[in-house]
C-alpha cells in the first residue's frame, strides 16, 4: 500500500523507523502489514500520521501505537508527533505490501 505524504523524502525516513515496529502476533512490521495510511509534515518540526489496527479492539493496540510513537520520536527528536488512530478505511489483507506477502508466504 502506498502511504500518502506531502514530503516523500522525510516520509521515507519515517517509514524506515516504523519498520522497526512489529505486530507481536503476526511477526510482521506495521508498514508491510499496511497499518500506516498517511505521514504528513504540515509544518516545521511536526509530524501528522494516520494509522489503523487489524481490528478495532486489538488487545495489542496500545503496545503497537505506543511503539510507533516511540520510534517516530526517537527518529525525529525535536518534532511534535500527532498520531491519529483511524478505522476508515478498515484494514484488509489487500493492504499488505508485496514484501509482507513474501514474508508471510515463507
Amino acid at each position: 500500500m502506498k502511504i500518502s505524504t506531502n514530503n516523500p523524502e522525510q516520509c521515507a525516513v519515517a517509514t524506515e523507523a516504523l519498520k522497526q515496529v512489529i505486530d507481536p502476533e503476526i511477526g510482521l512490521n506495521i508498514i508491510d502489514l499496511g497499518l500506516v495510511y498517511r505521514i504528513d509534515f504540515p509544518e516545521e518540526n511536526k509530524i501528522e500520521a494516520d494509522m489503523t489496527l487489524t481490528t478495532q479492539f486489538c488487545p495489542m493496540g496500545e503496545a503497537i501505537t505506543g511503539s510507533a510513537n516511540e520510534m517516530l520520536q526517537e527518529t525525529f527528536k525535536d518534532y511534535k508527533i500527532e498520531l491519529n488512530l483511524v478505522f476508515e478505511p478498515r484494514w484488509g489483507h489487500h493492504l499488505i505490501t508485496e514484501e509482507g506477502q513474501i514474508y508471510l508466504n515463507s
Binding site: F57, P59, G61, T65, M71, E74, L83, L85, L104
Partner: protein, 428 residues
C-alpha cells in the same frame, strides 16, 4: 505523545479479570486427570456413578467453562468490536463459579445431594447470570451486531438453561420437583451443555479467530448462519422429543442436524486454511485445528449409539466413550491449543505494553516453553488414545495407563501456564 483520530484507542479487558480464570481452569484440569486416575474403576460401571459424575462436572465446569469464561472476557470485545461492560460483573462470575464448582463436585464425589451440592449449584447459577448480564449488556452497547454475537449470546443462553436444569436435577434428589427421577433428564441437561454451550460458543469464536490467526481471506457469513440454524434446530428438536411423550421425531434427525452443522464448520475451517496468507502454522494452532477434526469422534459414537440402542437396548461403553471424546477429546484439545494462542498475549500486554518501542522485547510465543508444549501434546494424545482404548476394552490397567499419561499432560500444561504467568520483563 498525541494519539487521537476518528476512533480513539479502546482499552481492552484488564488482565486482572482474565488470568484468575486461566489459573483456576489449569488446576481443575490437573485435578480432573488425577480423579480420572483415582476413579479408573468407575469407568467400568454405569455412567451414572459418583466418580464419573465428579470427573465430568469438574471437566465441564472447572476446566472447559472456566477457561472459556476467562478467554471470552478478553476475546468477545474483539469479536463484537465493543468494550466489556463491567469488570465487577466479571469478578462476580469468577467468585461465584470458583466457590460453587468444588462444592458441587464434592457433592457428586460423595454422592450426597444435600447442602454442598445444592449450595454449589446455586452459586454456579449466580456466576453464570453475572456473566450473561455482562456480555449481553456489552453486546447491546456495541454497534456491530452480526453472526458472531448471535452465536455467543445464544451459547450463553444455553449455558444458563443447562446450569438451571442441573440445579433442578440436584434439588430433585431431595425434593421431588420433577415428574421423573433425575437420571431421566440427564441426556437433556448434558446435550444442552455440549451442543448449546460448548459447540455454539467454540464455533462462534473459532469462526472469527481461526481465519484471523491464519490471516485468511476466507469469510462466509451464509455458511455460519446455516450452521447456527442447523445446530439450534437440532437441539430444540432433541429437547422436544425428550420432553414430549407423544412425538414422532426419529432420534436420528436432531443428531443429523447437529452433524450437518459440525460438517459445515469443518468445511469452513478447511476453506480458511486453504485461503490463508500466512503459510506457517504454529503448534498451538495445529492442536486447535486438530480439535475441529476431533469433533467427528463423538459424532461417530452418537450415530453408533443410536443404531445400537434401536437394535439391542443400550451400550454403556459407547456412552462413556462418547462423553470421554467430548470432554477429554474435542474440548480439551481446543483449550490446550488456544490457551497458548491467547494467554501469552495477555501476559505480554501486561508486562510489555509500556515498554514497547523502548528496546527489543521477546515475542509473546517466547513466554512459554515450546518443548514443554510438544511433550504435553504427545502425552495428551497418547493418554487420550490409551484411555479411549481402555474404555472400549473395559480393562482397568489400560484405563490407569491412559489416565497416568493425561496426568502428565495436565502437569506439563500447568507448568507452562505458571511459566507464562510468572514472566518478568526482559530486554533482548
Amino acid at each position: 505523545m498525541i494519539i487521537s483520530g476518528n476512533s480513539p484507542l479502546q482499552k481492552t479487558t484488564s488482565w486482572k479479570v482474565v488470568l484468575p480464570f486461566y489459573m483456576y481452569a489449569a488446576v481443575a484440569f490437573l485435578f480432573s486427570c488425577l480423579l480420572l486416575l483415582l476413579s479408573g474403576d468407575s469407568f467400568q460401571l454405569h455412567y451414572f456413578n459418583p466418580g464419573t459424575l465428579a470427573v465430568t462436572h469438574l471437566m465441564a465446569l472447572g476446566w472447559g467453562t472456566m477457561i472459556i469464561l476467562g478467554a471470552s472476557h478478553q476475546l468477545v470485545p474483539v469479536l463484537i468490536e465493543g468494550k466489556l461492560y463491567s469488570n465487577t460483573l466479571a469478578w462476580l462470575s469468577f467468585i461465584f463459579a470458583a466457590v460453587g464448582i468444588p462444592l458441587l463436585v464434592y457433592g457428586f464425589y460423595i454422592f450426597d445431594m444435600g447442602w454442598p451440592a445444592q449450595a454449589g449449584a446455586i452459586a454456579i447459577n449466580l456466576g453464570i447470570i453475572s456473566y450473561m448480564a455482562n456480555l449481553a449488556i456489552s453486546m447491546a452497547r456495541s454497534t456491530k451486531k452480526g453472526v458472531y454475537s448471535a452465536f455467543i449470546l445464544t451459547a450463553i443462553i444455553w449455558l444458563l438453561l443447562t446450569t438451571l436444569a442441573g440445579m433442578l436435577l440436584v434439588f430433585n434428589f431431595t425434593h421431588a420437583i420433577l415428574s421423573s427421577n433425575s437420571l431421566t433428564y440427564l441426556p437433556l441437561h448434558a446435550h444442552m451443555g455440549i451442543a448449546g454451550w460448548f459447540l455454539l460458543l467454540v464455533i462462534g469464536v473459532g469462526a472469527r479467530l481461526i481465519p484471523m490467526f491464519l490471516i485468511s481471506k476466507y469469510t462466509n457469513e451464509k455458511i455460519l448462519w446455516t450452521i447456527f440454524g442447523s445446530i439450534n434446530l437440532g437441539l430444540l428438536l432433541f429437547i422436544v422429543s425428550a420432553l414430549c411423550v407423544h412425538h414422532h421425531i426419529p432420534s436420528i434427525i436432531p443428531a443429523l442436524l447437529i452433524a450437518a452443522g459440525i460438517f459445515l464448520f469443518g468445511w469452513y475451517c478447511r476453506m480458511a486454511y486453504r485461503e490463508r496468507i500466512r503459510r506457517q502454522v504454529d503448534d498451538p494452532m495445529k492442536i486447535s485445528l486438530l480439535s475441529v477434526a476431533m469433533i467427528a469422534l463423538p459424532l461417530f459414537f452418537v450415530v453408533a449409539l443410536i443404531a445400537l440402542v434401536s437394535v439391542s437396548g443400550s451400550s454403556n461403553e459407547l456412552v462413556l466413550l462418547y462423553g470421554f471424546c467430548i470432554f477429554f477429546g474435542w474440548i480439551t484439545a481446543i483449550i490446550l491449543g488456544m490457551t497458548f494462542k491467547t494467554l501469552p498475549f495477555i501476559v505480554w500486554n501486561k508486562v510489555y505494553h509500556l515498554r514497547s518501542g523502548k528496546g527489543k522485547t521477546p515475542d509473546p510465543k517466547d513466554l512459554f516453553s515450546g518443548t514443554q508444549f510438544k511433550w504435553m501434546a504427545v502425552s495428551y494424545l497418547a493418554g487420550f488414545i490409551v484411555f479411549a482404548l481402555g474404555l472400549f476394552l473395559q480393562q482397568i490397567l489400560i484405563l490407569k495407563a491412559g489416565a497416568g499419561l493425561l496426568v502428565v499432560a495436565a502437569f506439563l500444561y500447568n507448568l507452562n501456564i505458571y511459566k507464562t504467568i510468572r514472566h518478568k520483563a526482559v530486554s533482548i
